[in-house]
Symmetry: C2
Subunit: 421 residues, 2 copies
């Protein structure tokens, strides 16, 4: 167990009850203030810690973590240092902020602290390539049943490989960025020709994404066992989807403009190591998978997920509670499959899980599923009905694991739907 | 007409007959030598011109083109200067190397010249996002007929929008880079379970790609008229494809590992401006396209394309002659469609055309089409037969336009197939 993971550690910084960010978390992100240029940070409770400042004060000088890796507008150079270094930095941060503060260094440390509300959190990663998987059996079954009936819900390949597709990296934005309803081409039911206009079926997809730390070489697969070394950490991921655009465009080459207008991520990348306590076994995979997709140990994660919709001027309403454990294919299998053909991965690449749906209506990860393809409505606090998203709605996703009295979470990813431009 | 396009210009550098690189071309690329770090270059005849060196000698000092834009391992910073600057640099280069050499500056200029065989050409662009379209009607019809019969060859959306999908940027490599036959999961005909192993149906796809120069803002579409300002130039593109992997994986979310093991590009990016003389009208688009896909003027390009296969130790054999004019959707429509939902584009993004097939067997752009899905064979110079590619085969693609006695070309993109690792 890493030092930082010790459940008995307590920080001398204030950590509110039920915070996602106790001393055992120590995620990484990027912030700036009016005075400070963008830089690498972590968060403890509601305090943002300027790691560039700590690096300049030589707190990491013995760890092969140069100041330049922290004085950056993205985490890529820091992540590229490799896990031996980044984990050592995480443990050092746990040392600095747990136990009794070192009085000789108090001033230097306090200079690095900012209240969360004082800072602006930025997009943490420069995403080179972004891939979206489709790995929740419940989600694939729900969608497949809608399109092809219950008997043909899963395509023949689905139980043999983690189906995925390339997505658009340029339009991934950080939590808090509003999203304009996209315009595009759709074919209304019964129409003879397609029409152009704002999407009428705007949706979210509840996902998690992993971020690549260590790159791989073109031509060299990464095995399920090696994958751990390459995956830096995870974040929440809202894969905004325009269902009407997607439906008309996606045959035969897959989703394109129905997704590429925006995806939103939570600002803190929680390391794989911080999530260690939440590993669980399974699920059983039948039929048996090919050898390159086999894995050892507990490789799913028990992470509670929640989706809320906040209508303008109203309280947010929780409309779904799901869990990252509803993955038939785990992230190590996803990465092994992604690279089995020799495809190389680079620091900063992002792979999303696909929509994470549970087994019941109140655990589905998209409005498409919750509304049964537009057949059912949700009633919002102001009495209005929702089959899909309306302008002014804010979608908020949250996630955390909890074990031995320690809660490690992601904070949230939120995004408000603005009218089409 | 730009100065550099003047067909009467002649360079004082030697330009071999039928060279793709007369003084009217002036493409941009990246090279290095044993002594020199990677830097921006152009090519005239078989001479590579070190533009960093010319910039340092202040040949571009009055053009808002700083030396740093040339002292780079990729063209992105140069392209990001914008067309007013990059076109001015292109014209300045044409001035320097046409007419009578300026005797006062001879020494500085000669210091910047390298024989092609002395230098190593590098991947010219850092590709952020890569998109592959599917815009040759002949290709889509050929493939559709194979999969669904002649009557359902084109999907209902095909004549209404340029179908495209996101591809993998990390595995795009420069001409000359060998490509290992990928391994992966396939479902052999009649088998009950999928198998893992080297692809048996390795193919090329003859494509061209455009490179984005000027970025756009998230949420703001680029119109067909504005697209010209954003497209820096073009190159040849070999979209290597493993047909057996692709066939098993691609439903319902599109091509993934069947393509992501490698794509190859030619090393010189030929500017859109250099290709001006080869603009042609058409094709007629029926049904009428939606207003956002309409365009004015001549927007297709008459560029001859050729595919050769070279069996080890043999002469290369030309197996297809096609033309970039076989695009139903032109590149300006492709970019307008790509961004109509607000998707942003960044400097260095690459969009490939999709396989460019003509109307006859000897103009098809892939072995899948040439062999009729494996039903017909090509005979190679050594007597061996080809339905798909064999280990040791080198695929070579070439392209050029010719008008008023001026030939502007792309050189070639070549790649040798190595055995699976």
């Amino acid at each position: 167990m890493q030092f930082a993971n010790n459940p008995t550690l307590r920080s001398w910084l204030t950590v509110p009850e039920n915070s996602d960010f106790p001393i055992q978390n120590i995620p990484f992100g990027i912030f700036r203030t009016k005075e400070l240029s963008p830089r690498v940070a972590t968060r403890i409770g509601d305090t943002v810690v300027d790691l560039q400042s700590l690096a300049e004060a030589r707190f990491f000088a013995d760890l092969e973590a140069p100041v330049e890796a922290f004085a950056q507008a993205v985490l890529n150079p820091f992540m590229a240092l490799g896990k031996p270094v980044t984990n050592a930095v995480r443990n050092r941060i746990a040392e600095i902020f747990s136990g009794t503060p070192d009085s000789g260094k108090q001033k230097l440390i306090h200079k690095a602290l900012y209240a969360l509300q004082e800072v602006e959190l930025l997009m943490p990663v420069n995403v080179g390539d972004y891939t979206d998987f489709y790995s929740s059996r419940e989600h694939a079954t729900n969608i497949g049943t809608m399109f092809r009936g219950a008997e043909n819900a899963l395509m023949p390949n689905w139980l043999h490989l983690p189906v995925g597709y390339h997505g658009r990296a340029s339009s991934i934005v950080v939590s808090g960025t509003p999203v304009h309803r996209p315009k595009g081409q759709t074919m209304p039911a019964g129409a003879e020709k397609p029409v152009y206009g704002p999407s009428k079926l705007l949706d979210f997809e509840l996902e998690m994404a992993f971020v690549v730390g260590k790159s791989s070489e073109l031509g060299t697969p990464v095995s399920t066992a090696q994958a751990e070394e390459h995956i830096f950490g995870l974040c929440l991921f809202n894969d905004w989807s325009a269902r009407d655009i997607q439906k008309w465009e996606y045959v035969p080459l897959g989703p394109f403009l129905g997704k590429s207008f925006a995806s939103s991520i939570s600002p803190w990348i929680v390391t794989l190591e911080a999530l260690d306590p939440f590993r669980i076994s399974g699920p059983e995979q039948d039929p048996e998978v090919l050898p390159y997709l086999k894995y050892e140990g507990n490789r799913r994660y028990d992470i509670n997920l929640e989706v809320q919709i906040q209508v303008e001027g109203q309280e947010a309403k929780t409309i779904s509670r799901s869990n990252y454990k509803y993955m038939y294919w785990n992230l190590f299998q996803q990465l092994a499959h992604h690279t089995v053909n020799g495809c190389n991965i680079n620091t900063g690449d992002m792979c999303a899980s696909g929509t994470i749906s549970g087994t019941t209506l109140d655990s589905y990860g998209s409005m498409l599923e919750i509304s049964g393809g537009g057949k059912r409505s949700l009633t919002m606090p102001d009495g209005s009905e929702r089959k899909f998203l309306k302008d002014g709605d804010t979608v908020i996703m949250k996630g955390f694991g909890e074990k031995d009295g320690v809660r490690i979470g992601f904070g949230e990813v939120s995004g408000k739907v603005l009218p089409a431009k």
